[in-house]
């Protein structure tokens, strides 16, 4: 499955190996893993909790992957996003893309992350020494996603 939303951790090696298994057309495998940091906006973070919108999440991620496939020649795409409680150093998200050449794999991988950050219904709640707080959306994420629209025009 191209898109998975799950509480469980994932095995990076198994996922990346499976994505390209036996496909000798693949010359490039670009991947990204997002990880829980122990500090955000100056405050220590001991735990985060990821809420999502079941049903819409999968649809939104699949739409992003489909859009990437129309923009670049890709052989395989995998998106795994975890939900529930997570701790510093835990894996949050994996985006992996295979292609014949590296330029397309890099672009598609970054595109999917940028769109995921602004279009997939996930919300982070952080536990800090001052109590729990919902993470605010970053303006940098909006401008990262907007880059991909400018290139079209």
């Amino acid at each position: 499955m191209t898109v998975r939303v799950q509480e469980a951790d994932f095995d990076l090696n198994a996922e990346l190996t499976a994505l390209r298994a036996g496909d000798a057309r693949v010359g490039a495998l670009a991947s990204f893993v997002g990880l829980v940091r122990d500090i955000n906006d100056g405050a220590g973070v001991s735990e985060i909790t990821l809420e999502h919108y079941p049903g819409m999440t999968e649809r939104a991620l699949e739409a992003i992957v489909d859009e990437a496939k129309t923009r670049w020649d890709l052989y395989g795409v995998l998106v795994i996003h975890r939900v529930g409680p997570l701790r510093p150093c835990d894996q949050i998200v994996l985006v992996a893309v295979t292609s014949a050449h590296r330029g397309e794999a890099f672009a598609a991988c970054e595109f999917i992350m940028d769109y995921l950050k602004t279009r997939a219904p996930f919300w982070k709640r952080e536990a800090t020494p001052d109590g729990a707080r919902w993470v605010d959306a970053r303006e940098a994420d909006d401008s990262a996603a907007a880059r991909w629209q400018k290139e079209d025009s």
Binding site: M56, A60, K117, T118, W123, D136, A137
Partner: protein, 82 residues
């Protein structure tokens, strides 16, 4: 007509409710009018929320998006996953 309304993240916490199914009066046929009507019902946080986002039937929408009988309408803050 009847619609299912969902709230997520900080908005869900502020309202103290995750979902509700409501009978809409005549004239409430878009996300924008639905929001105003919900504020009138006492869900003031929907009025003050910064950058409130919405989805209709699990697709992102805006104030003009139509709301029909049986739809699922969600309100939530800007997303912060990844």
């Amino acid at each position: 007509m009847s619609v299912k309304i969902l709230y997520f993240a900080g908005l869900r916490e502020a309202l103290g409710i995750g979902s509700e199914t409501l009978e809409l009066p005549a004239g409430v046929a878009t996300v924008g009018t639905l929001r105003d009507w919900l504020v009138g019902l006492g869900r003031e946080r929907l009025a003050s929320a910064k950058n409130l986002r919405c989805a209709v039937n699990q697709e992102m929408g805006g104030p003009e998006t139509a709301v029909r009988d049986g739809d699922e309408v969600a309100f939530f803050p800007p997303v912060t996953g990844g």
